[in-house]
Amino acid sequence: MTMSASTPQQAPAIRLSNVHKSYGDHPVLKNINASVARGEVVVICGPSGSGKSTLIRTINRLEEINSGSIVFDGQDIHATMPAKKLNLLRSSIGFVFQNFNLFPHLSVVENVSMSPIRVKGVAPDVAYDKALKLLDRVGLAEKANAYPGQLSGGQQQRVAIARALAMEPPVMLFDEPTSALDPEMVGEVLSVMKSLAAEGMTMLCVTHEMGFARDVADRIWFINAGEILETAPPEEFFKTPRHPRAQRFLADLRH
Protein backbone atom coordinates (compact mmCIF):
# COMPACT_ATOMS: atom_id res chain seq x y z
CA MET A 1 0.00 0.00 0.00
CA THR A 2 1.27 3.45 -0.81
CA MET A 3 -0.67 5.26 1.91
CA SER A 4 1.33 7.78 3.91
CA ALA A 5 2.88 6.22 6.95
CA SER A 6 1.44 8.77 9.36
CA THR A 7 -2.17 7.62 8.75
CA PRO A 8 -3.16 5.00 11.27
CA GLN A 9 -3.71 1.58 9.73
CA GLN A 10 -7.35 1.38 10.77
CA ALA A 11 -8.38 4.69 9.19
CA PRO A 12 -10.70 3.99 6.26
CA ALA A 13 -9.46 4.48 2.71
CA ILE A 14 -12.54 6.51 1.87
CA ARG A 15 -15.09 8.02 4.18
CA LEU A 16 -18.28 9.67 2.96
CA SER A 17 -20.10 11.82 5.52
CA ASN A 18 -23.53 13.40 5.07
CA VAL A 19 -23.11 13.62 1.31
CA HIS A 20 -25.97 15.34 -0.48
CA LYS A 21 -26.28 16.00 -4.16
CA SER A 22 -29.14 17.16 -6.33
CA TYR A 23 -29.66 18.10 -9.94
CA GLY A 24 -31.79 21.22 -9.68
CA ASP A 25 -34.41 20.33 -7.08
CA HIS A 26 -34.13 16.61 -7.84
CA PRO A 27 -32.09 14.98 -5.06
CA VAL A 28 -29.84 12.22 -6.36
CA LEU A 29 -27.77 11.43 -3.26
CA LYS A 30 -29.35 11.83 0.17
CA ASN A 31 -27.33 11.83 3.33
CA ILE A 32 -24.77 9.24 2.32
CA ASN A 33 -22.67 7.99 5.24
CA ALA A 34 -20.33 5.14 4.52
CA SER A 35 -16.72 4.16 4.51
CA VAL A 36 -14.44 1.80 2.72
CA ALA A 37 -11.65 0.13 4.67
CA ARG A 38 -8.19 -0.41 3.21
CA GLY A 39 -8.11 -3.48 1.08
CA GLU A 40 -11.87 -3.77 1.17
CA VAL A 41 -13.85 -4.63 -1.94
CA VAL A 42 -17.25 -2.96 -1.98
CA VAL A 43 -19.87 -3.71 -4.59
CA ILE A 44 -22.52 -1.05 -5.07
CA CYS A 45 -25.79 -2.30 -6.42
CA GLY A 46 -29.27 -0.97 -6.82
CA PRO A 47 -31.95 -0.30 -9.41
CA SER A 48 -31.36 1.83 -12.49
CA GLY A 49 -31.33 5.56 -11.76
CA SER A 50 -30.76 5.04 -8.06
CA GLY A 51 -27.58 7.15 -8.07
CA LYS A 52 -24.83 4.50 -8.27
CA SER A 53 -22.84 6.25 -10.98
CA THR A 54 -23.32 9.63 -9.36
CA LEU A 55 -22.09 8.26 -6.04
CA ILE A 56 -18.95 6.70 -7.44
CA ARG A 57 -18.19 9.73 -9.62
CA THR A 58 -18.31 12.08 -6.63
CA ILE A 59 -15.45 10.12 -5.07
CA ASN A 60 -12.92 11.42 -7.60
CA ARG A 61 -14.91 14.61 -8.05
CA LEU A 62 -16.06 14.01 -11.59
CA GLU A 63 -19.33 15.20 -10.01
CA GLU A 64 -19.60 17.95 -7.45
CA ILE A 65 -21.65 17.51 -4.28
CA ASN A 66 -23.93 20.02 -2.55
CA SER A 67 -22.90 19.28 1.01
CA GLY A 68 -21.05 16.77 3.13
CA SER A 69 -17.50 15.53 2.76
CA ILE A 70 -15.60 12.73 1.12
CA VAL A 71 -12.28 12.06 2.76
CA PHE A 72 -9.62 10.09 0.92
CA ASP A 73 -6.13 9.60 2.32
CA GLY A 74 -6.81 12.22 4.98
CA GLN A 75 -7.93 14.85 2.44
CA ASP A 76 -11.39 16.16 1.75
CA ILE A 77 -11.78 15.68 -2.00
CA HIS A 78 -14.52 18.29 -2.20
CA ALA A 79 -12.75 21.00 -0.21
CA THR A 80 -11.83 24.15 -2.07
CA MET A 81 -8.33 23.53 -3.34
CA PRO A 82 -6.03 24.55 -6.17
CA ALA A 83 -6.59 22.63 -9.40
CA LYS A 84 -3.08 21.19 -9.10
CA LYS A 85 -3.89 19.52 -5.82
CA LEU A 86 -7.17 18.13 -7.10
CA ASN A 87 -5.39 16.66 -10.14
CA LEU A 88 -2.86 15.03 -7.84
CA LEU A 89 -5.62 13.54 -5.69
CA ARG A 90 -7.44 12.29 -8.75
CA SER A 91 -4.34 10.66 -10.10
CA SER A 92 -4.26 8.47 -7.00
CA ILE A 93 -7.80 7.20 -7.51
CA GLY A 94 -8.12 4.81 -10.43
CA PHE A 95 -11.37 5.04 -12.36
CA VAL A 96 -12.70 2.56 -14.90
CA PHE A 97 -15.60 3.67 -17.10
CA GLN A 98 -18.44 1.64 -18.50
CA ASN A 99 -17.44 2.51 -22.07
CA PHE A 100 -13.65 2.34 -21.50
CA ASN A 101 -12.83 5.85 -22.79
CA LEU A 102 -9.47 4.77 -24.12
CA PHE A 103 -7.61 7.40 -26.11
CA PRO A 104 -8.17 6.24 -29.69
CA HIS A 105 -5.31 8.28 -31.15
CA LEU A 106 -2.73 6.51 -29.02
CA SER A 107 -1.49 2.95 -29.20
CA VAL A 108 -2.27 0.63 -26.32
CA VAL A 109 1.12 1.04 -24.69
CA GLU A 110 0.91 4.82 -25.14
CA ASN A 111 -2.52 4.82 -23.52
CA VAL A 112 -1.05 3.12 -20.49
CA SER A 113 2.20 5.08 -20.27
CA MET A 114 1.11 8.60 -21.20
CA SER A 115 -0.33 9.69 -17.86
CA PRO A 116 2.65 8.55 -15.78
CA ILE A 117 4.83 10.51 -18.22
CA ARG A 118 2.69 13.64 -18.49
CA VAL A 119 1.20 13.81 -15.01
CA LYS A 120 3.87 12.28 -12.81
CA GLY A 121 6.93 13.10 -14.88
CA VAL A 122 8.09 9.49 -15.08
CA ALA A 123 10.85 8.98 -17.66
CA PRO A 124 9.34 7.63 -20.91
CA ASP A 125 11.42 4.44 -21.07
CA VAL A 126 10.60 3.63 -17.45
CA ALA A 127 6.90 4.28 -18.08
CA TYR A 128 6.96 2.11 -21.20
CA ASP A 129 8.54 -0.81 -19.36
CA LYS A 130 5.99 -0.48 -16.61
CA ALA A 131 3.16 -0.28 -19.15
CA LEU A 132 4.35 -3.45 -20.87
CA LYS A 133 4.41 -5.26 -17.52
CA LEU A 134 0.90 -4.09 -16.73
CA LEU A 135 -0.31 -5.16 -20.17
CA ASP A 136 1.23 -8.55 -19.59
CA ARG A 137 -0.60 -8.71 -16.31
CA VAL A 138 -3.96 -8.14 -17.97
CA GLY A 139 -3.01 -10.64 -20.69
CA LEU A 140 -2.51 -8.13 -23.50
CA ALA A 141 1.26 -7.90 -23.90
CA GLU A 142 1.00 -8.83 -27.57
CA LYS A 143 -1.41 -5.93 -28.21
CA ALA A 144 0.97 -3.24 -26.97
CA ASN A 145 1.34 -1.63 -30.38
CA ALA A 146 -2.26 -2.05 -31.51
CA TYR A 147 -4.71 0.85 -31.40
CA PRO A 148 -7.86 0.74 -29.29
CA GLY A 149 -10.05 0.56 -32.40
CA GLN A 150 -8.48 -2.80 -33.24
CA LEU A 151 -9.39 -4.42 -29.93
CA SER A 152 -12.52 -6.16 -28.72
CA GLY A 153 -14.53 -4.55 -25.93
CA GLY A 154 -13.15 -6.91 -23.32
CA GLN A 155 -9.60 -6.19 -24.43
CA GLN A 156 -10.26 -2.44 -24.38
CA GLN A 157 -11.58 -2.61 -20.85
CA ARG A 158 -8.53 -4.56 -19.72
CA VAL A 159 -6.33 -1.88 -21.27
CA ALA A 160 -8.38 0.72 -19.42
CA ILE A 161 -7.73 -1.11 -16.16
CA ALA A 162 -4.00 -1.26 -16.95
CA ARG A 163 -4.08 2.45 -17.76
CA ALA A 164 -5.60 3.25 -14.38
CA LEU A 165 -3.16 0.94 -12.58
CA ALA A 166 -0.22 2.67 -14.24
CA MET A 167 -0.76 5.63 -11.90
CA GLU A 168 -0.30 3.23 -8.96
CA PRO A 169 -3.51 4.26 -7.23
CA PRO A 170 -4.20 2.79 -3.79
CA VAL A 171 -7.91 2.77 -4.65
CA MET A 172 -9.78 1.72 -7.79
CA LEU A 173 -13.33 2.72 -8.72
CA PHE A 174 -15.31 0.82 -11.35
CA ASP A 175 -18.58 2.07 -12.85
CA GLU A 176 -20.29 -0.92 -14.46
CA PRO A 177 -17.07 -2.10 -16.14
CA THR A 178 -18.73 -5.02 -17.88
CA SER A 179 -22.11 -3.56 -18.85
CA ALA A 180 -21.02 -2.51 -22.33
CA LEU A 181 -19.50 -5.90 -23.14
CA ASP A 182 -20.78 -8.88 -25.06
CA PRO A 183 -21.48 -11.68 -22.58
CA GLU A 184 -18.55 -13.80 -23.67
CA MET A 185 -16.13 -11.00 -22.75
CA VAL A 186 -17.43 -10.29 -19.28
CA GLY A 187 -15.39 -13.08 -17.73
CA GLU A 188 -11.98 -11.85 -18.89
CA VAL A 189 -12.57 -8.43 -17.31
CA LEU A 190 -13.98 -9.83 -14.09
CA SER A 191 -11.02 -12.14 -13.69
CA VAL A 192 -8.66 -9.17 -13.92
CA MET A 193 -10.71 -7.45 -11.23
CA LYS A 194 -10.72 -10.58 -9.14
CA SER A 195 -6.95 -10.80 -9.22
CA LEU A 196 -6.70 -7.15 -8.22
CA ALA A 197 -8.92 -7.83 -5.25
CA ALA A 198 -6.83 -10.84 -4.33
CA GLU A 199 -3.76 -8.62 -4.26
CA GLY A 200 -5.38 -6.42 -1.67
CA MET A 201 -6.49 -3.48 -3.83
CA THR A 202 -9.15 -1.29 -2.27
CA MET A 203 -12.04 -1.37 -4.73
CA LEU A 204 -15.47 0.12 -5.19
CA CYS A 205 -17.43 -1.45 -8.01
CA VAL A 206 -20.80 -0.59 -9.37
CA THR A 207 -21.88 -3.77 -11.07
CA HIS A 208 -24.84 -5.97 -11.86
CA GLU A 209 -22.62 -9.05 -11.83
CA MET A 210 -23.99 -10.67 -8.70
CA GLY A 211 -21.74 -13.69 -9.10
CA PHE A 212 -18.75 -11.37 -8.84
CA ALA A 213 -20.30 -9.62 -5.85
CA ARG A 214 -20.86 -12.93 -4.09
CA ASP A 215 -17.35 -14.23 -4.75
CA VAL A 216 -15.22 -11.14 -4.42
CA ALA A 217 -16.97 -8.44 -2.42
CA ASP A 218 -16.34 -7.95 1.28
CA ARG A 219 -19.41 -5.81 1.54
CA ILE A 220 -22.41 -4.84 -0.57
CA TRP A 221 -23.91 -1.38 -0.52
CA PHE A 222 -27.49 -1.40 -1.67
CA ILE A 223 -28.61 1.98 -2.90
CA ASN A 224 -32.10 3.04 -3.85
CA ALA A 225 -33.40 6.51 -4.76
CA GLY A 226 -30.17 8.13 -3.61
CA GLU A 227 -29.99 6.43 -0.22
CA ILE A 228 -27.84 3.60 0.98
CA LEU A 229 -30.48 1.31 2.46
CA GLU A 230 -28.30 -1.59 3.43
CA THR A 231 -24.65 -2.48 3.75
CA ALA A 232 -23.87 -6.09 4.47
CA PRO A 233 -21.42 -8.86 3.64
CA PRO A 234 -22.53 -10.64 0.47
CA GLU A 235 -23.63 -13.93 2.05
CA GLU A 236 -25.88 -11.98 4.42
CA PHE A 237 -27.14 -9.61 1.75
CA PHE A 238 -28.05 -12.36 -0.69
CA LYS A 239 -29.52 -14.76 1.88
CA THR A 240 -31.28 -12.48 4.28
CA PRO A 241 -31.65 -8.97 2.90
CA ARG A 242 -33.23 -6.86 5.61
CA HIS A 243 -34.72 -3.98 3.68
CA PRO A 244 -37.93 -4.77 1.77
CA ARG A 245 -36.65 -2.76 -1.21
CA ALA A 246 -33.49 -4.90 -1.28
CA GLN A 247 -35.61 -8.04 -1.10
CA ARG A 248 -37.63 -6.87 -4.07
CA PHE A 249 -34.45 -5.93 -5.99
CA LEU A 250 -32.98 -9.40 -5.45
CA ALA A 251 -36.25 -11.08 -6.36
CA ASP A 252 -36.32 -9.08 -9.63
CA LEU A 253 -32.75 -10.14 -10.39
CA ARG A 254 -33.67 -13.81 -10.13
CA HIS A 255 -35.73 -13.68 -13.25
Partner: protein, 251 residues
Protein backbone atom coordinates in the same frame (compact mmCIF):
# COMPACT_ATOMS: atom_id res chain seq x y z
CA UNK B 1 -4.33 32.33 -77.17
CA UNK B 2 -1.76 29.91 -75.72
CA UNK B 3 1.00 31.79 -77.51
CA UNK B 4 -0.33 35.06 -76.05
CA UNK B 5 -0.14 33.59 -72.60
CA UNK B 6 3.37 32.28 -73.16
CA UNK B 7 4.46 35.70 -74.42
CA UNK B 8 2.94 37.41 -71.39
CA UNK B 9 4.73 35.04 -69.05
CA UNK B 10 7.99 35.53 -70.94
CA UNK B 11 7.75 39.31 -70.75
CA UNK B 12 6.41 39.72 -67.26
CA UNK B 13 7.46 36.65 -65.28
CA UNK B 14 9.70 38.59 -62.95
CA UNK B 15 6.99 41.14 -62.15
CA UNK B 16 4.49 38.35 -61.55
CA UNK B 17 6.97 36.48 -59.42
CA UNK B 18 8.39 39.20 -57.14
CA UNK B 19 6.68 42.47 -58.11
CA UNK B 20 8.85 45.64 -58.24
CA UNK B 21 11.49 44.08 -56.01
CA UNK B 22 14.32 45.10 -55.55
CA UNK B 23 13.35 48.56 -56.87
CA UNK B 24 10.10 48.53 -54.90
CA UNK B 25 8.48 46.38 -52.25
CA UNK B 26 8.42 42.63 -52.64
CA UNK B 27 5.26 41.66 -54.51
CA UNK B 28 3.85 39.16 -56.94
CA UNK B 29 3.57 35.47 -56.28
CA UNK B 30 6.29 35.62 -53.63
CA UNK B 31 4.28 38.09 -51.59
CA UNK B 32 1.07 36.14 -52.07
CA UNK B 33 2.78 33.02 -50.75
CA UNK B 34 4.26 34.89 -47.80
CA UNK B 35 0.94 36.51 -46.96
CA UNK B 36 -0.89 33.18 -47.23
CA UNK B 37 1.66 31.28 -45.19
CA UNK B 38 1.76 33.91 -42.45
CA UNK B 39 -2.04 34.18 -42.34
CA UNK B 40 -2.45 30.44 -41.99
CA UNK B 41 0.44 30.10 -39.53
CA UNK B 42 -1.06 32.78 -37.29
CA UNK B 43 -4.77 32.08 -37.79
CA UNK B 44 -4.38 28.45 -36.80
CA UNK B 45 -3.04 28.93 -33.25
CA UNK B 46 -5.37 31.90 -32.76
CA UNK B 47 -8.34 29.76 -33.76
CA UNK B 48 -7.38 27.23 -31.08
CA UNK B 49 -7.15 29.98 -28.47
CA UNK B 50 -10.53 31.37 -29.60
CA UNK B 51 -12.09 27.92 -29.43
CA UNK B 52 -10.72 27.29 -25.94
CA UNK B 53 -11.94 30.71 -24.82
CA UNK B 54 -15.41 30.00 -26.20
CA UNK B 55 -15.51 26.71 -24.31
CA UNK B 56 -14.12 28.24 -21.13
CA UNK B 57 -16.15 28.23 -17.95
CA UNK B 58 -15.07 31.83 -17.32
CA UNK B 59 -17.49 34.38 -18.76
CA UNK B 60 -14.81 37.05 -18.88
CA UNK B 61 -13.06 34.91 -21.46
CA UNK B 62 -16.07 33.39 -23.16
CA UNK B 63 -18.21 36.43 -23.86
CA UNK B 64 -15.79 38.82 -25.53
CA UNK B 65 -14.39 36.11 -27.77
CA UNK B 66 -17.86 34.87 -28.65
CA UNK B 67 -18.85 38.43 -29.59
CA UNK B 68 -15.70 38.85 -31.64
CA UNK B 69 -16.29 35.59 -33.50
CA UNK B 70 -19.93 36.43 -34.22
CA UNK B 71 -19.15 39.91 -35.50
CA UNK B 72 -16.22 38.77 -37.59
CA UNK B 73 -18.22 35.98 -39.14
CA UNK B 74 -21.19 38.18 -39.84
CA UNK B 75 -19.35 40.88 -41.80
CA UNK B 76 -17.87 40.55 -45.30
CA UNK B 77 -14.09 40.36 -45.34
CA UNK B 78 -13.88 43.31 -47.72
CA UNK B 79 -15.71 45.45 -45.17
CA UNK B 80 -13.31 44.43 -42.40
CA UNK B 81 -10.32 45.14 -44.62
CA UNK B 82 -11.56 48.62 -45.52
CA UNK B 83 -12.35 49.31 -41.88
CA UNK B 84 -8.89 48.36 -40.69
CA UNK B 85 -7.33 50.21 -43.58
CA UNK B 86 -9.05 53.54 -42.91
CA UNK B 87 -9.85 53.31 -39.23
CA UNK B 88 -6.66 52.00 -37.65
CA UNK B 89 -4.43 54.87 -38.89
CA UNK B 90 -7.16 57.32 -37.90
CA UNK B 91 -7.41 55.95 -34.40
CA UNK B 92 -3.76 55.26 -33.72
CA UNK B 93 -2.14 57.83 -35.96
CA UNK B 94 0.29 55.12 -37.02
CA UNK B 95 1.12 54.55 -40.66
CA UNK B 96 0.47 50.84 -40.97
CA UNK B 97 1.74 49.15 -44.15
CA UNK B 98 -1.11 47.67 -46.18
CA UNK B 99 0.53 44.24 -45.97
CA UNK B 100 0.28 44.30 -42.18
CA UNK B 101 -3.30 45.56 -42.28
CA UNK B 102 -4.26 42.76 -44.63
CA UNK B 103 -2.41 40.13 -42.63
CA UNK B 104 -3.97 41.14 -39.31
CA UNK B 105 -7.48 41.31 -40.73
CA UNK B 106 -7.12 37.95 -42.44
CA UNK B 107 -5.75 36.34 -39.30
CA UNK B 108 -8.73 37.47 -37.23
CA UNK B 109 -11.27 36.73 -39.93
CA UNK B 110 -10.04 33.24 -40.73
CA UNK B 111 -9.16 32.64 -37.10
CA UNK B 112 -12.81 33.24 -36.22
CA UNK B 113 -14.04 30.81 -38.87
CA UNK B 114 -11.46 28.22 -37.97
CA UNK B 115 -12.26 28.53 -34.26
CA UNK B 116 -15.78 27.33 -34.97
CA UNK B 117 -14.35 24.32 -36.78
CA UNK B 118 -12.00 23.57 -33.89
CA UNK B 119 -14.73 24.08 -31.32
CA UNK B 120 -17.01 21.75 -33.27
CA UNK B 121 -14.28 19.12 -33.30
CA UNK B 122 -13.82 19.38 -29.55
CA UNK B 123 -17.54 19.26 -28.78
CA UNK B 124 -18.04 16.31 -31.11
CA UNK B 125 -15.61 14.22 -29.05
CA UNK B 126 -18.05 14.19 -26.13
CA UNK B 127 -17.31 14.25 -22.41
CA UNK B 128 -15.80 10.78 -22.10
CA UNK B 129 -12.29 11.67 -23.23
CA UNK B 130 -12.00 14.70 -20.96
CA UNK B 131 -13.40 12.73 -18.02
CA UNK B 132 -10.94 9.91 -18.57
CA UNK B 133 -8.10 12.44 -18.73
CA UNK B 134 -9.24 14.17 -15.56
CA UNK B 135 -9.64 10.88 -13.74
CA UNK B 136 -6.00 10.12 -14.56
CA UNK B 137 -4.95 13.44 -13.04
CA UNK B 138 -4.36 15.50 -16.18
CA UNK B 139 -4.89 19.24 -15.91
CA UNK B 140 -7.48 20.83 -18.18
CA UNK B 141 -4.87 22.30 -20.50
CA UNK B 142 -2.77 19.14 -20.39
CA UNK B 143 -5.80 17.09 -21.40
CA UNK B 144 -6.54 19.53 -24.21
CA UNK B 145 -3.03 19.39 -25.51
CA UNK B 146 -2.34 15.68 -25.36
CA UNK B 147 -5.77 14.09 -25.61
CA UNK B 148 -8.54 16.35 -26.88
CA UNK B 149 -6.91 18.56 -29.51
CA UNK B 150 -4.93 15.82 -31.28
CA UNK B 151 -8.21 14.02 -31.89
CA UNK B 152 -10.38 17.05 -32.57
CA UNK B 153 -7.92 18.55 -35.06
CA UNK B 154 -7.38 15.24 -36.79
CA UNK B 155 -11.12 14.71 -37.21
CA UNK B 156 -11.44 18.21 -38.59
CA UNK B 157 -8.62 18.07 -41.15
CA UNK B 158 -10.93 18.39 -44.18
CA UNK B 159 -12.68 21.49 -42.80
CA UNK B 160 -9.41 22.97 -41.62
CA UNK B 161 -7.93 22.55 -45.10
CA UNK B 162 -10.85 24.22 -46.77
CA UNK B 163 -10.44 27.17 -44.41
CA UNK B 164 -6.75 27.32 -45.33
CA UNK B 165 -7.67 27.27 -49.01
CA UNK B 166 -10.13 30.11 -48.57
CA UNK B 167 -7.47 32.03 -46.65
CA UNK B 168 -5.22 31.82 -49.70
CA UNK B 169 -8.03 32.93 -51.97
CA UNK B 170 -8.93 35.77 -49.64
CA UNK B 171 -5.43 37.25 -49.88
CA UNK B 172 -6.58 38.58 -53.27
CA UNK B 173 -8.80 41.07 -51.45
CA UNK B 174 -5.60 42.85 -50.44
CA UNK B 175 -5.80 44.28 -53.96
CA UNK B 176 -8.28 46.95 -52.83
CA UNK B 177 -5.81 48.38 -50.33
CA UNK B 178 -2.86 48.04 -52.70
CA UNK B 179 -1.12 45.07 -51.14
CA UNK B 180 1.49 44.28 -53.82
CA UNK B 181 0.62 40.63 -54.31
CA UNK B 182 0.13 38.41 -57.35
CA UNK B 183 -3.30 39.88 -58.14
CA UNK B 184 -1.85 43.36 -57.94
CA UNK B 185 1.01 42.42 -60.27
CA UNK B 186 -1.39 40.82 -62.73
CA UNK B 187 -3.54 43.90 -62.88
CA UNK B 188 -0.41 45.99 -63.48
CA UNK B 189 0.39 43.72 -66.39
CA UNK B 190 -3.16 44.06 -67.62
CA UNK B 191 -2.97 47.84 -67.42
CA UNK B 192 0.17 47.82 -69.56
CA UNK B 193 -1.19 45.43 -72.19
CA UNK B 194 -4.77 46.73 -72.15
CA UNK B 195 -5.95 44.29 -74.82
CA UNK B 196 -5.50 40.90 -73.20
CA UNK B 197 -7.41 40.82 -69.90
CA UNK B 198 -8.66 37.31 -70.47
CA UNK B 199 -5.18 35.88 -70.96
CA UNK B 200 -3.73 37.78 -67.99
CA UNK B 201 -6.43 36.76 -65.58
CA UNK B 202 -6.38 33.19 -66.82
CA UNK B 203 -2.74 33.02 -65.76
CA UNK B 204 -3.80 34.40 -62.40
CA UNK B 205 -6.56 31.82 -62.00
CA UNK B 206 -4.26 28.94 -62.93
CA UNK B 207 -1.62 30.00 -60.44
CA UNK B 208 -4.13 30.33 -57.58
CA UNK B 209 -5.64 27.01 -58.51
CA UNK B 210 -2.21 25.38 -58.49
CA UNK B 211 -1.38 26.78 -55.05
CA UNK B 212 -4.67 25.66 -53.48
CA UNK B 213 -4.51 22.31 -55.19
CA UNK B 214 -0.99 21.61 -53.89
CA UNK B 215 -2.05 22.57 -50.39
CA UNK B 216 -4.96 20.15 -50.56
CA UNK B 217 -2.66 17.41 -51.86
CA UNK B 218 -0.12 17.94 -49.11
CA UNK B 219 -2.87 17.95 -46.50
CA UNK B 220 -4.39 14.75 -47.83
CA UNK B 221 -1.00 13.08 -47.74
CA UNK B 222 -0.53 14.13 -44.11
CA UNK B 223 -4.00 12.92 -43.20
CA UNK B 224 -3.37 9.56 -44.83
CA UNK B 225 -0.09 9.19 -43.02
CA UNK B 226 -1.75 9.77 -39.66
CA UNK B 227 -4.58 7.41 -40.56
CA UNK B 228 -2.13 4.72 -41.59
CA UNK B 229 -0.14 5.12 -38.41
CA UNK B 230 -3.31 4.90 -36.31
CA UNK B 231 -4.44 1.83 -38.15
CA UNK B 232 -1.28 0.38 -36.67
CA UNK B 233 1.12 -2.20 -38.02
CA UNK B 234 -1.00 -5.20 -37.02
CA UNK B 235 -4.30 -5.18 -38.82
CA UNK B 236 -4.38 -8.87 -38.05
CA UNK B 237 -7.16 -10.99 -36.63
CA UNK B 238 -7.76 -10.71 -32.93
CA UNK B 239 -5.60 -13.38 -31.37
CA UNK B 240 -7.45 -15.93 -29.25
CA UNK B 241 -7.04 -15.29 -25.57
CA UNK B 242 -4.75 -17.28 -23.38
CA UNK B 243 -7.26 -17.34 -20.55
CA UNK B 244 -5.10 -18.40 -17.64
CA UNK B 245 -2.32 -15.98 -18.54
CA UNK B 246 -4.46 -13.13 -17.30
CA UNK B 247 -2.49 -11.91 -14.31
CA UNK B 248 -1.68 -13.23 -10.91
CA UNK B 249 2.04 -12.49 -11.17
CA UNK B 250 3.05 -9.12 -9.79
CA UNK B 251 4.36 -6.56 -12.24
Amino acid sequence: MITDIITIIKDYWLLLLIGQYPNGPLGGLANTLILSALSIALAFPISILFALARLSKWRALRWPVTALVYITRGVPLLMLVLWSYFLVPLLTGADVPSFVTMLTTLVFYQGAFLSEVVRGGIVALGHGQMEAAKALGHSYLGAMRFIILPQALYNMIPSIISTFVSTIKDTTIGYVINVPDLTFAASQVNNQLLTQPFQVFLILAIVYYAICWSLTKVANAIEQRITRRRAGPSRTVVAPLAPSKILSEQP
